[in-house]
Symmetry: C2
Subunit: 681 residues, 2 copies
């Protein structure tokens, strides 16, 4: 007799309901509060009602079709934004629910911030209303074919022609053409182009210029502008990433974005007032990446947990039948640690947003003291969380077994579009240089100071123990039992000691004749250690928060504590080599860490389904035959397969149901018309 | 001035030529000898000349188009096989060069082995010539929607009707329909169906039956047979994986494959003579997976090394310009360790094939003594090597930076089709139970024996040290310097000690009331440790081989030794926690391991491009704009982008070059026809 998946998944929920787990409250809390969550659901309904946003057939679309669909999505998005008078936050929410990386998307997330941040007041007056209303569709053209992360290596030039009061924008070589620029391939009609500013042969470095690229009326590319779409990608195929050559294209002098640096009619360049606020913007992008990492991971965790709860396979075939796959410890290990990671990172994203807001407040007042700290940990966390999310999502897909390989599982499509987060805004290995550099500076400042504690930020206080090196070398973890490892203070001390020891090691390696790029492997380790500390720090702080304690009942608070413990012990286990190498942890501690992880998996197991329900993913967004709320995975797999084009008469099959191409290709094989094969086995 | 990539890559090769590295000899040796390599190249040329195998446009094909192409490929493949009178080995070579998972592919790799292995002599007489000549196109139908790896859970039944001398084959529920069956969706006309054999209400377990599923003339599905394609997948979309329901389908009694079990006209079931040879077949599949892991990895390593040698980014901008990305230690770490892994696994694949052949020879003589050992390590190595390959390929793709995200990088498409190796033929975590179980048995046999060494196979001799537990606990690594860690005996002792300690730990955990499935996390660790030992063992043995020493000159032999050292130290470093936990390695050893890895990266760097040339991948197969032999990455990216359908007039663009859909979707946005947006920023 077959198992009933719908019954199985409801039984999972019944347990948490009985115990009093506050699933809804968890959702509301992690979604930003009851009101925000209610508004999100309203916007979700708006999106779900529009046929153009339908997702059922997305998995069947080839690249060209998917791009065409994205154009229709773009139009509908613009229409709904106006119709429902969405504010900027709500626009972001709507984009999240549309869940497609469509051309107009980037106008808002890349082009507008540049225009707003870099344009002068006069320029805002001239262009901003058009830009906000999409009467001008922009893209942000920085990366070149031959140069990505190294801004100073860009080759595109903007040379001032004083006689005509124009810039001549030029891409001198094929490899200096702008490449990967989203929305450039087919849609945008202006580009914010990063180019080396040159006056009278002097190079003033890279600056942004507004360059019209397509005719406002005909949409044809303008003279001197050559553009093509760069072709199919791993994901994000609804986007028209483009390649652009500019051949001596002339634009007015006033098309240079002049909020900071300026060039006068006479060709005089005035230096920018140093723009600390721009660093803030970079930080914000990274905060969003950390939040997205938590989101992307929680999506896979939701699908993985629900499906593995209804998928039964092997094990004891007693009265209750085969085991749910979710009862296998290895599956729990792979999914629940990522569930804990998703909760942990969501809290870190929230903490980052708070410190970003505080930082911006400070910067407006001219106080730059926190800038370096925030910049350093946002770089590290961007790297750490997006790497862990990408790896975790794919590993959860593998936990789904064979069916995880179907696009209908709902993971592969969004995962592919998630992947670039590991390489953009700073490649995840290279980026850690920023973090390590800062930590080394903190360390040096501290050991040279008479009041070292005052030199260190809240999350680098652990460096204080390095002030007395001989004492540091002899420190040992105080935990006397597995239970002690669940003590937050002990946890932070372990993670802090390890991070500190790696900083000290780096300090020895980084002598004057060793360049930072030679220390990439080491900076990656240091940054990772620091980030593990911060994530634990934020989770622990949250659990310690009075408001939180008041809001949740004991069961809920306890489960959150278990998730925190799991993530902390998991991080320690992953890098046990580091912890043992210093002698801070002993073999006995190592065994407790492993045992602790296993015990926590068992504790979380009964609440697993409710804990992923709490992430609040609607079925519409998950678009997963395996992970929908009702658990009806197998029926959904079949009903979705029915819609596969190869199964449709007139598309994949002829009138009698035989596959197209049979007569031309397969029948001659079956009829032996292609020659006799005589080779023996 | 732009760099010349073609010049850069030739400069890389010049160094190895000057030093005398035997690149061609490496290729010939690793490809199975001079003659085999020559024959492979001949077959490559046959494939390259056929337009239907052209690969340039594959990245643009949607699923339906790609499947249609695969039908054409199937036909051409059958034609060429006959025309060139290829022997079975050569057929495999040709399939590798076609490099597409096309429907007819599986007939040979899945259906034929079942027919040959399970069919009786009479059945061979009746069907084999048709099957070998594709006048019968088969698929192998085992997996069901609700059951994958658990064979005993399959629900499809074959019930004997003695009155008509027929089997009634039936899939009782939707979830018992055969699912994921390759070539079933549209192409195959017979299926080897695994079903529970039932006579007079008695269930005799799962057996294979030959079930005609499509009409020989019309290709329509036969009465009672319902089939559909299961839809789009992560990869392998040229294959028509299918779902099949069988509604009381009747087949002759003699369509049960009767080489082993038999059922007579009277309905009497005769037990099979135990079929040890069948275990051999399972082993062969895993040997192939290990070989494929080496291949798949070497392909990404080739692309990664070549592109990172010509991609320059940041670093010192002195006389020689920016640094090649391949000069960054972190990039070397990620690519060269995988290069070493590819060499190591290729050697392990070769050693496995040799022991597989020896095993089959033994089995034919009735000697089953080596069966368990080969079965155990082939299971573990399947898991270990395919996991490392999948993770490694994706990580190398990330090393390519932004351009790695383009399909033109050549990695994503084949990676997607490679991925299922992690889940089929035993999911990579679950499978390790086989290995751990065997090791535990060896351990128990050894400690209870008066002559423990005689109980242990060549690659489990390391368990001998557990016979004296107190002595074992006090063993310490003898290495007194970093140099000592390059001593092969020291290396094997380290890996052996660690594997032994995990087996001993498992022995403590596995008491009678603990089931194997509860120990999944632990079996994974044990199996991994055992496999690391075996791979190192095989590489070290190869380097010690007289014939090898005679064939290669000193430079070549030295580089191979460096690759071996790198892989060994890399494996130790990855799991340092285990090595430190037992106290066998000290903190000082740990530092030497890390330093050793870094030094080896520097030693391998100058030969890197030649070492990937030696893998022998033709440009045609790599199909990579970034990794082609001549290094001309950027020009190739552009010329391939030009062929993107969105750039073609009549497909993606209209007659004046404006994207299709502009007038309907984008113009109304730009003209402000969709409502005014009033929200403030």
């Amino acid at each position: 007799m077959p198992y009933d998946q719908k019954v199985d998944i409801q039984a999972e929920r019944a347990y948490s309901v009985e115990k009093g787990l506050q699933t809804t409250l968890l959702t509301e809390t992690f979604q930003g509060g009851k009101e925000v969550w209610a508004r999100k659901q309203e916007i979700a309904r708006i999106v779900e009602q529009e046929p153009v946003f339908a997702r059922q057939d997305r998995y069947f679309l080839g690249r060209t079709e998917r791009f065409q669909r994205a154009l229709a999505i773009s139009r509908k998005f613009v229409e709904l934004r106006a119709k429902h008078k969405l504010n900027p936050d709500e626009v972001v929410i709507m984009k999240n629910y549309i869940d497609e990386y469509f051309p107009v998307h980037l106008h808002e997330s890349m082009f507008l911030p540049v225009l707003i941040g870099q344009g002068s007041d006069e320029q805002h007056k001239k262009w901003l209303d058009d830009a906000l209303n999409y009467r001008m569709l922009g893209c942000y053209a920085q990366t070149e074919l031959g140069h990505g992360s190294n801004l100073s290596g860009l080759e595109t030039t903007a040379t001032l022609d004083k006689t005509t009061d124009e810039w001549i924008v030029n891409t001198p070589h094929a490899s200096s053409g702008k490449y990967w620029i989203g929305s450039l391939g087919c849609v945008a009609n202006v580009a914010a182009v990063q180019a080396k500013l040159i006056i009278d042969g002097k190079d003033y470095g890279t600056h942004p210029f507004l360059v019209p690229i397509r005719d406002k009326e005909t949409h044809q590319t303008l003279p001197g502008v050559e553009i093509m779409d760069i072709g199919p990608k791993v994901g994000a195929n609804a986007m028209d990433n483009g390649y652009m050559l500019l051949k001596q294209v002339r634009i007015p002098r006033t098309n240079m974005l002049m909020r900071y640096a300026r060039v006068s009619r006479e060709g005089v360049y005035s230096k920018p007032i140093h723009n600390k606020l721009a660093y803030g913007a970079m930080t914000l992008v990274r905060v969003r990446i950390v939040e997205n990492a938590a989101n992307a991971l929680s999506r896979a965790v939701t699908i993985g947990t629900r499906y593995c709860a209804v998928r039964r396979q092997g094990g004891g075939q007693g009265a209750s039948g085969e085991l749910a796959v979710l009862d296998y410890p290895s599956v729990q290990y792979r999914i629940f640690t990522m569930m804990a990671a998703a909760y942990a990172r969501s809290l870190t994203g929230r903490a980052m947003m708070a410190s970003y807001n505080a930082l911006m407040e400070d910067l407006r007042k001219g106080d730059t003291s926190k800038l370096a700290d925030v910049h350093a940990y946002s770089s590290g966390l961007k790297s750490f969380t997006s790497t862990l999310a990408a790896d975790g999502i794919e590993d959860i897909r593998k936990c789904l077994g064979g069916h995880g390989y179907s696009m209908f599982s709902g993971i592969p499509d969004y995962y592919r579009t998630y992947l670039p987060s590991n390489t953009y805004e700073g490649e995840n290995w290279l980026l850690t240089q920023q973090t390590a550099r800062y930590l080394l500076k903190m360390y040096n400042d501290a050991i040279r100071s008479s009041d070292p504690a005052s030199q260190l930020s809240e999350t680098t206080q652990y460096l204080l123990q390095l002030v007395n090196p001989s004492q540091f070398a002899h420190q040992r973890c105080s935990a006397q039992s597995m239970q002690d490892l669940l003590n937050p203070t002990v946890q932070l001390t372990i993670l802090g000691h390890r991070a500190a020891s790696l900083v000290a090691e780096l300090a020895q390696l980084k002598t004057d004749n060793v360049s930072w790029s030679e220390l990439n492997i080491d900076t990656y380790r240091v940054s990772r250690a620091h980030c593990q500390f911060i994530i634990a720090f934020n989770f622990i702080n949250y659990l310690d928060d009075k408001e939180m304690r008041h809001a949740f009942n004991n069961v809920t608070a306890q489960v959150l504590k278990q998730l925190c413990d799991l993530f902390v012990l998991f991080m320690i286990e992953k890098d046990l080599g580091d912890h043992l190498e210093t002698g801070y942890l002993t073999s006995t501690h190592a065994k407790w860490v492993r045992q602790g992880v296993k015990s926590l998996l068992k504790l979380i197991r009964p609440h697993a389904v409710s804990l992923v329900d709490a992430f609040g993913w609607p079925d519409f967004l998950l678009n997963s035959a395996l992970g929908s709320y009702d658990g009806d995975a197998y029926k959904r797999l079949i009903s979705w397969a029915k819609t596969e084009p190869l199964n449709q008469q007139g598309i994949g099959r002829d009138a009698v149901g035989v596959v197209q191409g049979y007569h031309e290709y397969i029948r001659p094989i079956l009829k032996g018309e292609l020659g006799q094969y005589t080779s023996k086995l």
